[in-house]
Every structure is written in C-alpha cells, then in structure tokens.
Amino acid sequence: MQMPDGLSMRVLWAIGAIYVLLVAASVIVAILRRRNPGEATSELSRRVASWWFMITIFTVAIVTDRIISTVFLGFMTFLAFKEYMSLIPMRRVDRLILLFAYLAIPIQFAFAHMNSYGLFLTFIPVWMFLFCPMAMTLIGKTEGFLRAVGTLSWGLVITVFALSHAAMLLAADPSVAGPAGGAGLLLFLVALTQFNDVAQFTWGRLYGRRKIVPKVSPKKTWEGFLGGLISTIAVASLAGPYLTPLPADYAALAGGMIAIAGFLGDITISAFKRDLGVKDSGGLIPGHGGILDRVDSLTYAAPVFYHAMHFFSFSGRI
C-alpha cells in the first residue's frame, strides 16, 4: 500500500489498537444494556455509536493526505466557533465583523500547514486581537462594546487559536516529529485527550464521590479525575515511545499534562455553557451534544501539549 506523505505504519497500527478498544467498549456496553435496560444504558450506547462514527471520520481524515487532514481540522474548528458564536449574546451591528472572524480560520490553518511558527503564534493573539475592536470602533456603536470585543476575542482564542495547535502538530518537521511523524503526534494528543475524557467519565461513574467544582460541573469528581489521570499516564507511557519522539518517562509526563489540561478545558467550556443556561453547545453528535462539547478538552490540551513539545522536544532540550 502506498503511504501518502510518508505516513508511518505506526499510525495505522495505533489506529488499529483504537478500534480494538472500540470493539471492547461496544461489547461491554451491549452487555450492560442487556443486564439493565433503561435511559442510562441507551445513552451509553448512543455515545459508543457516535464514537464509531467520529473515529472513522478522523481516521479517514488523517490517513489520506496532510492537506485533507488540515482542512478537516479547520472544518471542525469552524463548527466549534460557529456553535460558540450562535450561543453568545451579540450585537446586530457586529454581524459582518463576524465574517472576518470566520475568515481567520482558513488563514490560521494555512499558517499551521506551512509550519510557520511566528505567523501561527501572532495572527490571532496579536493581529485579530487588534483588528476586531478596531472594526467595531469604526462601526461607531459604543453600547455593549466591551462585552462584544471580549466575547468575540475569547471565542477566537479558545476555539480557533487553541484548536489550530492540532494542525501545527501535524505539520511538525519530520526531523523532530519522531518515529511516526506529525500524524503520530496528532494521534497521540487526540486519542489520549479523548481517552482521558472516557476514563474520567468511567472512573467517576464507578467510584465518584467527592465533587471538585460542584457549581460548574456537578458530575466531575476527584475519583474520576485521578482515575482518568492515572489511566492516561499509563497509556501515554506505552504509546509515547511508539508515536512520539518521547521516551516512556517523558511520555508519561506528557500524558499527565494532557489529562490535567483536558480536564481544565472541559470545565472551562462547562462554565461558559452554564453562564448561558445551556447544557449542550449543539445537537450535532447524538449522545454527546455539539462539536464544542466534544472538543472542549482539546481547547486546553492541544496548546499545552504542542508548546511543551515545541519547547522541550522539538528544540532538542530533552
């Protein structure tokens, strides 16, 4: 089989391992559902069905071609940003400025695709950050100005800028990206972030008692968080040497960072949704909610993992 862009066989083997996990999860959920049918277990099986769907789309997107992978990540980001902008209160006069904000998505992902670190890093936090309030000022309506600038800027950073780090991993130079290339790094990040979500959920359901932030996310418990953290560290120490340039000890550390950052991203998006009085950011994925509900952990995990890799590993410091 011809591998596009030197896609490593390791990525395919790792995806194979994910499918094995998925089959195991489907079997377990089917057994649970037979033992006690009801709303809780049918919700679980909707979630697992959606996982099949999402993992398959993700697999196709990353094994075909690097441009397709980047466009796919950009499109997911577009959906997340659109969900965000559709939920928040807005001013009518800012409708067209929003078009420029959408336009920032292809530009940001093009910079990521070019692996142009400086442009990638400054475009949204500097240039879009300066541009949006300027455009709103020129419109001339000052009522609600601060709120409009604040919500738009935060939305751009938490969705577009944060998630574009995933595309930046994909574009990592082959000389530093490790044995499975940029696609291996992306897979390591995304698979572990999602694994951590599921592990936290499972540990929390089984043993969860002490709540961490009851006012923001009442279902998050210390037992779930620590169970997820330990599970993710364990998987990371096994997968890290295979998919990334990190040896097992540093990979375990990276897994711990992904688990903690993922948890923080999750509750941060929960705080935002709770403020607006919504439970889900949308209804696109059955059993999960919207795209933003699915990528909430990635909004923190992607920048944290990318910058840790950039500073310590790509630079040769470790």
Partner: protein, 211 residues
Amino acid sequence: MARVLQYLFFLMIVRPVLLVILGMNLRGREYLPKKGPAIIVANHNSHLDTLTLMALFPLKDLHRLRPAAAADYFLKNKWLAWFARNIIGIIPLSRGAVRKNPLADLEAALDRDEIVILFPEGSRGEPEQRAEFKRGVAYLARARPNAPVHPVFMHGLGKALPKGSLVLVPFNCDVIAGAPLSWTGEAARFMEDLEGRMNELAAQGHFQPWE
C-alpha cells in the same frame, strides 16, 4: 420538469448549505406532519425560513409543501416569479387586497392534501423579534378544520440572513416543532392558544438577545 429542478435545488444547494454553512438543531421532529392536509405555522425572520422548513421533509414530499408568500414581493419580476412558483412552489397571497376570499387558494391546496406553510407575522419584520400573529391562520383553520395546525418556532436564521442583507453569515439555527392544535370554534381563543404554544416553544431554547 419543475419538480426535477426543485428536487435538485434542494438536494444540491439548500441541504448542503444548511448542513455545512448554517447547521440546524431540530427538536420535536415527531410533531411535524407526516402527510397533508396540514398547516405549518412559524415565526418569520429571514428568507431562509421557508427553505429550512421545507428541508425538514423528505425530498419526495417537497412538491406537496406549499408556502404562502406575498404576491407583491415574490411576483414583482418574472424571474423571481418563476423561481418562487416552480422551485419553491409558493401560493401567492395578496397583502391587504379586498378580494372576496383571500384564502381560497390555500383552502384548495389543503383540499388536495398538501401541507401549507404560513408565516402569520405577515412579513419578516425585525429579525429575531416576534411580531403578533395575524388572524388569517384562524380563518383558514376554521374553513378546513380537518387540517391540524403545527406550530414551529425558529431562531437564528434572522442573524444569518436578515431582511435587507445580501450577505450570508454562518450561524446555527434552532427549529423547535410543537404538538399540533386543531380548530377550537372561536378565532380569538384559537389565536391565544397558538401564541401560547409558540411562547412555550420559544422558551425551550435559551436564546440570547441580539440587539
């Protein structure tokens, strides 16, 4: 021929745009009518309202959906008139005219077991702001009591393409369908019930102001 073009227009343009650029959250799909005669009543924010409501139905049922639309606007030039009549399948209504029975064409459509789409606010008006329903819908329900009235609340399309704008900005829209009402015997009471039902549907979403 027109049916083929209508089919292709919805398959190739309307549905992809709704799926990719706009995005829709539908609640209460089970309340949408499966067959005619039926009347769908929705609030009106944008030209996209009609297309979105029509896209909720299977493609094979498209030609049975008949949106009522203002004759003075949609028939003002022959290109738009052709498009409105053949691709959308509108039933033109004269606004403020003094014909004998302005609802005759809608009644005829219901007699053919079609599904009539009505926007009783009368015009798109200020986007994302409800206007009081006009009573025509009650008179239509009275004339054809066998046709259930299905309330549908829509949010978000007025942001995507409000009146007076030609630029489409991506926004998710929410469509919330509710249980149908039937004619209760008195117009004022019927309108109250309908407005009440619409308010309940609107309250199901936590929609932020857009001012």
